[in-house]
């Protein structure tokens, strides 16, 4: 048998299927490209993050170093001030002590401690001590012990030990 018409080439897919497949492929490519773009953007941020982290670590180090230097200088400044103030107070308390001593009393030895004072000396009479020196000492110190003795030359020797308890000291320093 022989046919008069040429046989049509049979397509692998019909038009509808081709269209669908093309559509699916296109959409898939678009989605992949979209995903790729997002990953690319993320990788850009990752790079930036790395350099920022490095930069921030350096800056943190510098900031800490600056803080250390500042606290060091502050420490020096406050210590310097403290030393000057301590020396000034010490001088003032010595001055005050010698101002307390009346003419009738001569000191031979003074030992100044942070919370105590030892005074040794001589006077004409016990009364000079008890009337002129004891009251101011008692007003400053919480405890005042005194021992008297005679030196044979007509002088009364005294040894006065005065202490200050912490509570009183705090009140004085305020």
């Amino acid at each position: 048998m022989r046919s008069f018409i040429k046989p049509r080439k049979k397509k692998l897919f019909d038009d509808m299927t081709t269209m669908w497949l093309a559509f699916i492929v296109l959409v898939s490519i678009a989605l992949m490209v979209f995903g790729g773009v997002i990953y690319y953007k993320s990788s850009f941020y990752i790079k930036m993050i790395d350099s920022l982290k490095e930069n921030n670590a350096k800056k943190t180090y510098i900031v800490n170093h600056l803080k250390d230097n500042i606290s060091l200088i502050q420490m020096q400044a406050s210590l310097d001030k403290d030393v000057k103030e301590t020396n000034r107070i010490l001088k003032q308390s010595m001055k005050n002590l010698f101002d307390l001593i009346p003419d009738q009393i001569t000191l031979t030895k003074v030992v100044m401690q942070k919370k105590s004072l030892l005074l040794c000396g001589y006077t004409n009479s016990i009364d000079s001590y008890t009337l002129l020196l004891e009251p101011p000492l008692k007003s400053i110190f919480t405890k005042s012990i005194v021992k008297f003795s005679q030196d044979g030359k007509g002088h009364t020797l005294f040894e006065s030990f005065n202490t200050m308890d912490v509570l009183k000291d705090q009140n004085v320093s305020r």
């Binding site: 299927t17 979209f34 997002i38 953007k41 930036m48 993050i49 230097n69 020096q76 010595m94 030992v111």
Partner: protein, 176 residues
């Protein structure tokens, strides 16, 4: 409905299903994790950027504060960085006292780099006023000198014997 139409509908349904499946697959595999990562990285970047700005601001402020403090405490900083010159100190003490003797007791180091040299001074003075003047003069010394208790004063024939402790401060590492 003819068989051809039925087949078409079925094909259409299959394509729709496979299209949706493929799209969802891509969305779940590429798009959603990508967006998630992008968002977290972006947030991290923004917080780091903020951190950077705050650090820069902090740095500027601290630098300003440091230069101000350096300017304000220039003398104190100098005094702490100077080595204690014992002969210079004795020369200074001679202005006020006689029979000058300085005995080194010990060195002490603190955590913040301070070195404290402790001395016992054994001086003779004519009047206590000399001692007051000496304390006043310490302010002008190149080193930081602190007078410590106990202070012993004993009267001798023509002068007062003065024994006291003192600390000299020095900073080991200098601030840059």
């Amino acid at each position: 409905m003819s068989l051809v139409e039925n087949t078409k509908t079925l094909k259409f349904a299959i394509f729709i299903m496979s299209f949706l499946l493929i799209v969802m697959l891509f969305v779940f595999i590429f798009v959603i994790p990508g967006i998630k990562e992008y968002k977290t990285k972006k947030a991290e970047y923004i917080s780091l950027q903020k951190n950077k700005l705050s650090l820069e601001e902090q740095k500027k402020e601290l630098e300003k504060k440091l230069s101000f403090l350096k300017k304000e405490n220039v003398d104190a900083i100098k005094s702490f960085s100077n080595d204690f010159n014992q002969s210079e100190f004795l020369l200074f003490s001679k202005k006020f006292f006689e029979n000058i003797k300085l005995t080194h007791i010990k060195n002490q180091k603190t955590e913040n780099g301070l070195e404290i040299y402790k001395f016992t001074a054994d001086f003779n003075a004519k009047t206590p006023i000399r001692f007051y003047n000496f304390i006043d003069g310490l302010k002008n010394l190149k080193s930081v000198v602190k007078i410590n208790f106990p202070i012993k004063l004993t009267s001798e024939e023509k002068s007062i014997k003065l024994v006291f402790n003192m600390s000299v401060y020095r900073l080991k590492h200098k601030s840059k």
